[in-house]
Symmetry: C2
Subunit: 229 residues, 2 copies
């Protein structure tokens, strides 16, 4: 059994989901009486967000590399960052790291490809929507990635911060999120919506939309479980 | 801010509670916008239990020392084992470790002393009730520690394994637990009941008894938060 290292705390609510679903997911799938060993390095979200706000991507990549290397030092075979946003520096991380990183972005692209999606809508934090790391990855798979307009980005970001990030679900926020997305879906003929923030599935699921809803956290955890075994 | 390392997975349910309560506890108490960095090394409970079942305490102490040292290697200032049972080897661990360990047993004794308790009832897994590490610690504080009889131990242990350990709460089990404890409390004139298993507070709380209920997990987490700051 491989050992998985998780960079957590971005935010804490989704870290809890990753922990729970990896441990119980392993036991449910295998029927094994053992529990997987799991390392979680839960970092200071406020510090990480400050690098994003200041566009200091070099520092962000350095800090993440350092935190990931701690997990490597104590024996992790694979690492995963339990969050979408920090993947803004995924190219830099892959260059710097000497341990395989299970990327939520790459796994989501593969999932979309396997489901024959052609044009997806990206939702997530302002950082995830305003940078091109998802778009660049989807390009490789010949899938068009549509990003909301600036005013729409603001509405979506404000649904996540600060309430959803702290596990608080507000019905009004959910309706605002759905309205913005449904407008774009209709206008642009979208066939899949990317929940590109690991807190969004706390509020939104497949039942809320007529098109495919890509729960990046679920896709990521499924890939982690495959690597674990 | 100090960095805390947690040995988790014993079981996973209480690890989730430790994670959540340390992160949010820190923010609630300080009002700080930062999040504490937390390392969790979640181990294989089945392996740990096998050493206990085979009375292989030397191996248990070696394995725990090794896992704790991983947390030290990556920068933890203090470590804590998020479980009562492994404290059966607390004396050996303290001898072997070069990093301070926040012991759930020691912190519970201090709490009982501060609350002027004189005679407490120990509940927990069969391993915790059948070994003398709690009794030895309470002796130092001049508090009498009463342990259930063998048939009572079995009932209490079976309430924890396997259901409660996996987060499943059964009303019938709760009533059986309370009946056994109330008999001892009345007969022996007990003034405090030790929930000496970090899963017991998922089912039992202060409202269930007329005497003091010592939630070892809560006491432990409070001490961890003090060390963190």
């Amino acid at each position: 059994m491989n050992k998985i290292g998780i960079i957590g705390g971005l935010g804490p609510e989704s870290t809890l989901e990753y922990y729970k679903r990896i441990i119980y997911g392993y036991r449910n799938i295998t029927g094994d009486e053992n529990y997987p060993q799991l390392y979680v390095n839960s970092v200071n979200m406020t510090e990480i967000l400050s690098y994003l706000t200041n566009n200091d991507y070099e520092k962000l990549a350095d800090v993440l590399t350092n935190e990931i290397n701690k997990l490597k030092t104590i024996g992790a075979d694979y690492v995963a960052i339990a969050s979408n946003t920090p993947h803004v520096v995924i190219d830099e991380l892959i260059k710097k790291l000497t341990i395989p990183l299970i990327s939520i972005v790459e796994e989501t692209c593969k999932f979309a490809k396997n489901n024959n999606l052609k044009k997806v809508l990206l939702t997530g934090t302002i950082f995830t929507m305003s940078n091109n790391f998802y778009k660049k990855a989807f390009d490789k798979y010949n899938i068009e990635c549509i990003v909301p307009e600036d005013n729409e980005k603001k509405i979506i970001h404000n649904v996540i911060f600060p309430n959803l990030e702290n596990g608080i679900i507000i019905e009004e926020d959910k309706l605002a999120f759905m309205k913005v997305c449904n407008n774009i879906i209709k206008e642009k003929n979208i066939d899949g919506i990317i929940l590109g923030c690991t807190e969004l599935p706390l509020m939104i699921n497949q039942d809320d939309f007529d098109i495919s809803v890509l729960d990046t956290m679920e896709i990521h955890i499924k890939s982690i479980l495959e690597k674990l075994m």
